[in-house]
């Protein structure tokens, strides 16, 4: 097994508001992130698999890029994550929730390799990694 990563970027706006809380509580918990703002997101999609003997590839990186565009970027790039993304409805558009959502959009459509990790960066200072894990009660 070997891992292969495709890196893409997208730009989107969001704000953090929990509708169950009042304005003061939202501002106390989320600070300036209650205001509509945006990021240049960096998304790294990592798949794992075995290179096919005929091609030497786990998956054609161009095909992976096309899939990321079709399954993910078309929904997120230059959008408002609070209102434009059906897969995010009812969830705060944090990078944590976004990484989980992106996993859900991509994993069922991957052919060849299997999804290993979604890494999402809002900026150079932090990254969220999601490996498809759930904490079951």
């Amino acid at each position: 097994m070997i891992r292969l990563t495709k890196r893409v970027e997208f730009c989107a706006a969001h704000r953090y508001v929990n509708p169950r809380w009042g304005e003061d509580e939202n501002r106390r918990r989320f600070g300036k992130a209650v205001n509509l703002h945006g990021h240049n997101y960096v998304l790294e999609v990592t798949i794992q698999g075995t290179p096919a003997p005929d091609t030497g590839m786990v998956m054609d990186l161009k095909a992976l890029k096309d899939l990321i565009v079709d399954a993910v970027l078309i929904h997120l790039d230059h959008k408002n994550l609070n209102v434009d993304v059906p897969a995010l409805v009812g969830r705060l558009p944090t990078p944590e929730n976004l990484a989980v959502t992106i996993w859900g959009l991509l994993a069922p459509r991957l052919v060849g390799g299997s999804l290993y990790r979604i890494r999402l960066c809002e900026d150079d200072g932090s990254a969220v990694d999601y490996y498809g894990e759930w904490d079951r009660p």
Binding site: Y16, N18, R20, R29, F30, G90, R91, L92, P93, T94, E96, N97, A99, V100, D124, G125, S126, A127, V128, D129, Y130, Y131, E133, W134, D135, R136, P137
Partner: protein, 157 residues
């Protein structure tokens, strides 16, 4: 808000936050002779010390909090690193902060172990999963909670 309606479960994520601090140090083992120190540590043994801009990446792991959509303790991590690491280690001489119990001298490995213990003590059990310390862009030390990258004594310069 981030939970799964069907199962009541929540996704588990890892969040890495990056920080940097500037510090001085000198590699010197007081149990060795001057000649042995020079041979072992080379220019890092320079008598008047030198320094680095250390880059630190801290990775924590846990469930996404339903109400905030964020990994629990993510905001607290920044406060912990500020109070317990940056306030102490930034613009400081590492050799005044590292004790013989930590290690023989302030190598990247010893420093990584020191920072790991500081962070592990301040965070809930199991939260800290990885620590990466870049002494320079070319010299990088990592510790994982599963024991990978375990501290080893420096074998050369």
């Amino acid at each position: 808000m981030s939970g799964d309606v069907a199962t009541g479960g929540v996704p588990v994520v890892e969040v890495t936050q990056r920080f940097r601090f500037a510090a001085a140090h000198r590699m010197h083992n007081p149990r060795l002779s001057a000649e042995e120190n020079r041979r072992l540590y080379g220019r890092c043994n320079h008598a008047n010390g030198h320094g680095h801009t250390y880059r630190v990446a801290v990775t924590i792991r846990g469930p996404i909090a339903t109400e905030t959509g964020r990994l629990e303790d993510r905001d607290r991590l920044c406060e912990i690193v500020q109070a317990r690491v940056l306030d102490r280690f930034d613009q400081a001489d590492l050799d005044g902060l590292i004790t013989p119990a930590d290690g023989v001298t302030s190598t990247a490995e010893v420093l990584t172990g020191v920072l790991w213990r500081i962070l592990e003590e301040a965070l809930p059990a199991g939260r800290l999963v990885r620590l990466r310390v870049e002494e320079t862009p070319n010299n990088i030390c990592e510790l994982d909670s599963d024991g990978r990258g375990e501290q080893r004594p420096r074998s050369g310069k």
